[in-house]
Structure formats: structure tokens, C-alpha cells
């Protein structure tokens, strides 16, 4: 099965991880109802490079994986807030 690299704990099989959905910025608090509903209920399914939340279960570590959803290649993984060090 696929391997994924936790920035703190190293490379592990996918079974040690939980997927947390795409990293997305919520719209501003004063946005319209339509914009908010779109944020909550819709997702962009087009393939491409996406930032995804992943959780390493044995260590309780949340991190971000930048993944090409067409080729399933993970470009890099980093702790949120440490993108520049990735």
C-alpha cells in the first residue's frame, strides 16, 4: 500500500494515517449565505495539486501533504505553519 511521510515520525504505510480532508480557507465571517453554503457543502473535484490534512494515528500528529491527485504522488509533507521548511 501507499507510503506517506509524517514530518515528525518518518515514512509509514497508509494504514497508520487518517485522512482529514482538503486544507481550505473558510470565507470571511461576513460572507453571503450562498458563499458559506458553497464552502460547507461543495468540493472541487478537479485533479491537481492539493493540500490535504493527514493525521498520524500512533503519534497524534496532524500535518499537511501536498499531493497530486491525478498521479497520487505526494510532493512534500509539512507541519502546518512550517511550509517554508518543508
Amino acid at each position: 500500500m501507499k507510503l506517506l511521510t509524517c514530518p515528525v515520525n518518518g515514512t509509514r504505510p497508509l494504514s497508520e494515517f487518517v485522512f482529514g480532508g482538503e486544507l481550505r480557507q473558510p470565507p470571511a465571517a461576513d460572507c453571503s449565505d450562498q458563499v458559506w453554503a458553497h464552502y460547507v457543502h461543495n468540493r472541487n473535484g478537479a485533479p491537481g495539486l492539493k493540500q490535504e490534512w493527514w493525521y498520524h494515528a500512533p503519534s497524534g500528529t496532524w500535518f499537511i501533504a501536498e499531493r497530486n491527485t491525478l498521479t497520487d504522488q505526494v510532493i512534500r509533507t509539512y507541519l502546518k505553519g512550517q511550509e517554508s521548511q518543508a
Partner: protein, 232 residues
């Protein structure tokens, strides 16, 4: 030897208890925790230890802290701590200090140090402050040894745990038989040992899995005194 049916006098009970229920074993008190301390004759236990021995180390007292200031606080208490994430060190007195990730620490007293318990000292010294949080540790703890340990690992774990990959002072957080574990290797009392911790609720399951595989290799459970001479 104490029978299970009497009211328990020790305040603490090993998390493995259910896996040992119904077997004809010697029970005793280590650090106030009721434990099975003998599983078979000397001859058999020594033979098991050499090929695939398994012992319950849950009675060793543990202490834990996490947070941005945890490292500094521990140093202020006089401890030498690992500098990097997922590493361990051992104090002069034999106390284990594991750095779990970047900001969490698990400390385990050396066997037979109940009177000078580092964990007790730290527990008394602890006071709440920003970036420093107490983590209770009551995990099931195991010791493994023997020539067939690599075969056990190849059954229960999908990552590469050969000595080359699990370096000298590394701490590994992974899964065994579907359960999250903390794992390290230690040379102690001239023996090559593996130390394993998992949530106490998974203790009996983990014991059963490892003991079952151990028996297939002519190994099996041994008393903790086989590894820690302080508990012989």
C-alpha cells in the same frame, strides 16, 4: 501466592490481568501493582527468553509531560533529555527518558528504584504553568528478547524494524497488529531487549497476540525478574 478471588489488597492491578486469568501462575506485588511474576520453571523461562521471551513491565512507574515548555521544565528538574524528536536517553540511575515527537516526554523509573523514584520526585515538583501539561501514563508495558523477535515483528508490523532501520537511540511510534505502540531497543544488563508500550485497554489483546506467536517459535512469557535483576 495470592488467589484472584480474594479482595485485592494491592491498589494497582496490571493491565494484562485478563490475559492471565485462569492460568496457574505465581502472582506478587511489584511497586504496589499485582503482577504475575512466574510463568514456568527456570529452565523453561530461560529457554523462552533466548528465542522469544515476553515479560510484563507495567509495574515500572511512569511520568509524563507535554507542551512547549516541557523540555525546559524537565531540564530545570535536573534531567538530561534527548535533544531531537523520537529519541531516548537513560540516566545514570537507569531512568528512561523518551522524547515522543517534539514536545512530549515519557519518563520511566528504572527497576528497583521505588525509594528514589524519579517519577515520584517529578510528580511532586509539578505545578501547572503555561506550555506544561501533565500526561498520566498507565500503559501496558512489555519487554521482548530473543533470536526470533525479528520474525514476530515481521508478522505484526509493516515497517522495517531490522536493527539497521531501528537505530540505537530511536523511539518509534507505529502499529503492531493494528494497535498504536511506542517501541525502542535497549541493551540492558548485557541483553538485547525491545521495550514496547501500548494503551492499557489493549494490553490483554497485545499480550495474547505476542504470546501466541512466541509459543509458535518455542518462546513465551517469562517473569519480569528475568530481565530486571532487581525483581528476581
Amino acid at each position: 501466592m495470592k488467589l484472584n478471588s480474594e479482595m485485592q489488597t494491592e491498589k494497582l492491578m496490571t493491565p494484562i490481568a485478563h490475559a492471565l486469568h485462569g492460568q496457574d501462575l505465581l502472582w506478587d506485588d511489584i511497586n504496589g501493582m499485582r503482577q504475575a511474576t512466574r510463568f514456568a520453571t527456570d529452565e523453561i523461562e530461560l529457554a523462552r527468553k533466548a528465542v522469544l521471551g515476553l515479560a510484563d513491565a507495567s509495574a515500572l512507574r511512569k511520568f509524563g509531560v507535554k507542551g512547549a515548555n516541557a523540555a525546559q521544565w524537565l531540564q530545570q528538574q535536573g534531567l538530561v533529555i534527548p535533544e531531537a524528536a523520537n529519541r531516548w536517553v537513560v540516566s545514570a540511575a537507569g531512568c528512561l527518558i523518551l522524547r515522543l515527537g517534539n514536545t512530549e516526554f515519557l519518563i520511566e523509573d528504572a527497576a528497583g528504584t521505588a525509594t528514589e523514584s524519579v517519577c515520584e520526585r517529578l510528580s511532586l515538583a509539578f505545578s501547572a504553568q503555561p506550555g506544561l501539561y501533565l500526561v498520566p501514563h498507565v500503559e501496558a508495558a512489555f519487554v521482548l528478547s530473543g533470536t526470533a523477535v525479528a520474525q514476530l515483528f515481521s508478522e505484526v508490523c509493516s515497517i522495517d524494524l531490522t536493527r539497521v532501520a531501528l537505530g540505537g537511540k530511536d523511539v518509534v511510534m507505529t502499529q503492531f497488529a493494528g494497535v498504536s505502540v511506542v517501541l525502542m531497543h535497549q541493551d540492558l544488563e548485557e541483553e538485547s531487549l525491545f521495550r514496547l508500550w501500548c494503551d492499557s485497554s489493549y494490553g490483554p489483546y497485545m499480550w495474547d497476540v505476542i504470546a501466541g506467536i512466541a509459543h509458535e517459535h518455542s518462546g513465551g512469557p517469562v517473569g519480569i525478574g528475568r530481565y530486571f535483576s532487581a525483581y528476581k
